[in-house]
């Protein structure tokens, strides 16, 4: 069977899942025995506030929960509250400076004690402690106070209007922890609380019985879970480690496990495994975009360390928009998808391809146009020299193109080098180990922030569904530079006052439709209007579940295990 049919089948089966649920998958808690999940990256800790790693975040989402999280379509759904506060229902103040959360009545922790607003206050205090090194501090950005109004109500106040007040206590990144358990773990003492970090008391469907760091987690159903009929599974084994191949095989071919996370494998490898018939791959698309970043500043090693790759020195040829546009035009994105991602990727011209509200109808880059690119360069005065490489005023278009070491990325590099050679552009390829490239070591010349290359490629995404902070990264002055120890998110060193004005406007706008328009306009400014960012592929997530595991809904906007409470064993 082809992967495509399998995926279609998977999509169809998830679409009908709610119906199937009504068809008699209800029953008492723990009726379906054990479920086994495998993550090829093993969780190290179950406290997402001390680790930003996806593996830690997702495993902890089985145990501790936020007040509300995003569903598979990016909509906010209430978890520990009855309704998500909005301006409409009075939960968010008119001036957008505060949000009031009300916990559902009767909620209890897995140890039986009641969940109260004091736990919300404590969670905020825990993460905002200056010495704690909280990984999710940005979720609490701009929070001036979190105060308990009554037993079940807490009010979060911001220092300025927040059109998107769903930072604290929303999504897998910001779950509620129990004040009683973590009381002695504030600030510098956080790492000393091994017991709490390895077995947090939570409100989620499962409770940890045994946690072996970087190896395995054993969980049992939470007796105090709010729905008396869930979870269907009495216990869960969460195995970590190995490789994506091994975990894919364990679900699809040998049937030893029920769910395998994030199978980053070549499309034909997954299709071959799926022939094993024990399970099926599932995929979903979020906003993760593999892109080329154009360096607008000069990375020449001849420059001094103070000015190299900084705004002081514009790039000799990439500062010409015609060159950037031609480089984008020459790329055959469909071919890249076919080689690297198969059905788990799709060509895109957008920096923000999802959610629909923010996705611009920008499709101009989807067809490769070598002739057009050549004509554009010709017209802009870049003419081919004796060596076949275009040059203008003695500046040759010779590109150093870097990325992290990864089989798919090296395939992409080779293909793109070939496209560019067809328009008279010389390309030198370079790949760097991910831990160095993405590590922020200011002393290393090889980090993506330092950008000592002309073009670099990687993927990035934003948490949840609101791209405000993501788009705000391209503000003038936010670029990595020596004076900021090369920290900063404006990787391209893009600077446009009109764009900055739009960032400010987005930060003030509460109306969703208006936000969508602004977001699209900003996306277009960075992509099709300036070719500063050249998006290549909208990367989907591929996971796999066994044929006997029902209720799985792959969610890329939150933890993949967000609805583990709804999972059940299908008959046979």
């Amino acid at each position: 069977m082809k992967l495509k049919t399998l995926l279609l089948g998977a999509i169809a089966s998830t679409a009908f899942a709610p119906m199937a649920l009504a068809d008699g998958h209800e029953g008492e808690r723990g009726r379906d025995g054990e479920v086994k999940v495998i993550y090829w990256q093993a969780p190290s800790i179950l406290n997402p506030y001390l680790s930003g790693g996806t593996k830690d975040l997702e495993s902890s989402s089985l145990i501790i929960e936020p007040l509300a999280r995003f569903d598979q379509d990016g909509n906010l759904v209430p978890y520990l509250t009855d309704e998500v506060p909005t301006v409409g229902n009075g939960g968010v103040s008119e001036d957008l400076t505060s949000i009031t959360w009300k916990l559902s009545a009767g909620l209890t922790w897995s140890d039986g004690s009641p969940v109260t607003s004091a736990d919300l206050v404590f969670t905020a205090q825990y993460c905002m402690d200056p010495e704690g090194g909280c990984a999710q501090l940005s979720k609490f950005d701009g929070v001036t106070s979190v105060e308990a109004i009554d037993e079940l109500t807490a009010k979060v106040t911001f220092d300025q209007p927040k059109p998107n007040p769903y930072g604290p206590f929303v999504g897998a990144q910001s779950p509620i922890i129990q004040a009683a358990q973590f009381a002695d773990c504030l600030g510098a003492r956080a790492p000393e609380c091994t017991e709490a970090n390895f077995g947090p008391v939570g409100t989620g469907p499962f409770v940890v019985t045994n946690f072996k760091p970087n190896d395995v987690i054993q969980l049992v159903a939470n007796d105090n879970y709010r729905d008396p009929n869930k979870p269907a599974f009495a216990s869960m084994t969460f195995k970590g480690g190995g490789s994506a191949e091994a975990s894919g095989r364990a679900v699809l071919e040998t049937g030893e496990f029920d769910y395998a996370w994030n199978l980053q494998l070549a499309p034909d490898v997954i299709a071959k495994m799926a022939e094993g018939g024990k399970g099926m791959p599932i995929s979903a698309f979020g906003a993760l975009v593999e892109r080329l970043e154009m360096n607008l500043t000069n990375p020449s090693p001849d420059l001094s360390a103070e000015t190299r790759s900084t705004v002081a020195e514009p790039h000799p040829f990439l500062s010409d928009i015609n060159v950037r546009e031609a480089l984008s035009m020459a790329i055959n994105r469909q071919e890249l998808v076919d080689v690297g991602y198969g059905d788990a990727g799709r060509p895109t011209c957008n920096l923000v391809p999802a959610p629909a509200l923010y996705a611009s109808d920008n499709t101009g880059c989807l067809t490769q146009d070598i002739e057009g690119a050549n004509a554009k360069l010709e017209a802009a005065g870049w003419v081919k020299g004796a060596d076949g490489i275009r040059a203008k005023d003695g500046v040759r278009i010779s590109i150093l193109y870097q990325t992290s070491t990864n089989a798919v990325r090296q395939d992409f590099q080779a293909l793109i080098k070939d496209y560019w050679s067809q328009i008279g552009v010389e390309t030198e390829l370079r790949n760097l180990d991910g831990s160095v490239f993405f590590g922020g070591d200011p002393g290393s010349p090889d980090t993506f922030q330092k950008f000592y290359a002309d073009v670099e490629m990687y993927a990035n995404v934003f948490d949840g569904t609101d791209p405000q902070a993501y788009l705000a990264a391209y503000r003038c002055g936010n670029e990595p530079k020596p004076s900021s120890q090369w920290q900063g998110e404006n990787i391209n060193r893009f600077c446009d006052p009109a764009y900055d004005a739009m960032i400010d406007e987005l930060a003030r706008t509460g109306d969703l439709e208006k936000r969508g328009e602004l977001g699209k306009a900003m996306n277009d400014m960075l992509t099709k209007d300036s070719f500063t960012v050249v998006p290549l592929v909208d990367r989907g997530r591929v996971s796999a579940h066994s044929n006997t595991l029902g209720g799985v809904v792959l969610n890329v906007f939150d933890s993949e295990l967000w609805n583990a409470a709804e999972w059940y064993r299908t008959g046979n």
Binding site: I38, A42, S44, I45, N47, S51, G52, G53, E131, G132, G133, C134, A135, Q136, L137, S138, A188, A190, P191, E192, T194, N197, F198, N210, K212, P213, N214, D215, V216, Q218, T237, K239, G240, G241, G242, S243, E245, A246, R249, E253, T254, E256, F257, D433, S435, V436, F438, G439, G440, D441, S444, Q449, Y458, N460, V461, D463, A469, Q487, G488, E489
Partner: protein
């Protein structure tokens, strides 16, 4: 002999200190960042705060001295406290509180800061101790199985030099030597777990052996990784055994023994074998540290999350305290087993005297 052993033990202290400095220096110089695995969605200033919380801001020599103190003083104190409190062997002794220090602010005894992993924020030695059983079961058993297979093959190959058996043995050992475990591992999985019987391709580290059924389960999940690792050991040891036997078979004393009219079995199995075992035993002893080191690749292929897997994940995550501690434990093992091999040599071979 005793003075030699004691002298060697004392000289190994500066060796180990030197090794620890070299490891620490190399890790400091190596590129990489413990925050590299944190998604790009976490802003850089938050990552900087996380780095500071890990103690990365402190000067290098302070970090080193802190590690030395934690490894050589604090951790043994915790071990002694644990032994007098919870262990079966020393539990009858009065409970010690060596690891506790008086905190003036809180006005009570609090545990000292232990050597903490950056990934898990928990004491490294606890994780290492948790990992040892898996590694010993699988890698240790593979080592024993490998030796048990290798010795007869080596002996017989040498005795029937250039026979079909010898040629076949040479071929198989060369295959074992040259095919890496990341090939044999998945190959065995495809053959035994996917195609034939359903042997386990993922090791269950939480499995407890308490009856016949669970023992059979343990066997069935260990058999594949043990096979992969034993192939390597067999290849190595059987070559040593064969070479060593060949050296001795042509010696004068063998001819003398035969001339005396001793049975062939006694000549080979007693006279030749005992002399041939001397170098082989040292090779076996020198290989023991590698058991504790685990098998990085095989452990990863089969999900036997032992010491090897712990080291490789720590390397990927740039968890410097963890890498430092595990590597240093390996160094101690290697130094100790070198000493044991030297002493064994003297014990087994009367011609060698150290005094």
């Amino acid at each position: 002999m005793l003075t030699f052993t004691i002298r060697r033990m004392f000289t190994s202290i500066p060796t180990l200190l030197f090794i620890s400095i070299v490891i620490f220096g190399l890790l400091q110089l190596a590129p990489g960042d413990p925050m590299a695995q944190v998604p790009l969605t976490v802003p850089p200033e938050v990552k900087q705060k996380m780095r500071e919380a890990l103690g990365l801001g402190a000067p290098v020599h302070i970090q080193y001295l802190k590690w030395l103190n934690q490894f050589f003083i604090v951790e043994p104190q915790f071990l002694i406290d644990w032994m007098t409190r919870d262990s079966f062997l020393f539990g009858w002794l009065p409970d010690t509180q060596l690891s506790m220090v008086y905190d003036v602010e809180l006005e009570k005894l609090v545990p000292q800061q232990r050597n903490i992993s950056w990934q898990t924020r928990s004491p490294i030695m606890d994780i290492v101790i948790q990992r040892i059983p898996q590694t010993l079961w699988v890698v240790g058993l593979a080592y024993i199985v490998g030796i048990l297979i290798a010795l007869p093959i080596g002996i017989y190959s040498a005795y029937r030099h250039y026979s079909v058996f010898d040629q076949a043995g040479t071929f198989i050992t060369m295959v074992g030597f040259s095919i890496p475990p990341f090939f044999t591992g998945p190959l065995l999985i495809v053959i035994f777990s996917v195609a034939l019987v359903s042997l386990h391709s993922i090791y269950d580290t939480t499995h407890v052996v308490n009856d016949w059924v669970s023992f059979k389960y343990q066997l069935s999940q260990m058999i594949l990784p043990v096979m992969v690792l034993a192939l390597q050991t067999t290849a190595q040891i059987s070559r040593y055994m064969r070479a060593s036997m060949l050296d001795n078979l042509n010696q004068d004393y063998v001819r003398t023994a035969r001339a005396k009219g001793l049975k062939e079995g006694i000549v080979v199995m007693i006279h030749v074998l005992r002399n041939s075992m001397i170098p082989v035993i040292t090779v076996i002893a020198l290989g023991v540290p590698s058991i504790f080191g685990g098998a990085i690749i095989t452990e990863n292929v089969f999900g036997v999350n032992g010491i090897g897997q712990l080291l490789i994940t720590a390397l990927f995550a740039n968890d410097i305290p963890m890498v430092m501690t595990i590597t240093f434990i390996f160094a101690i093992m290697i130094v100790v087993f070198n000493l044991i091999a030297d002493v064994l040599y003297g014990v087994l071979d009367p011609r060698i005297r150290y005094d």
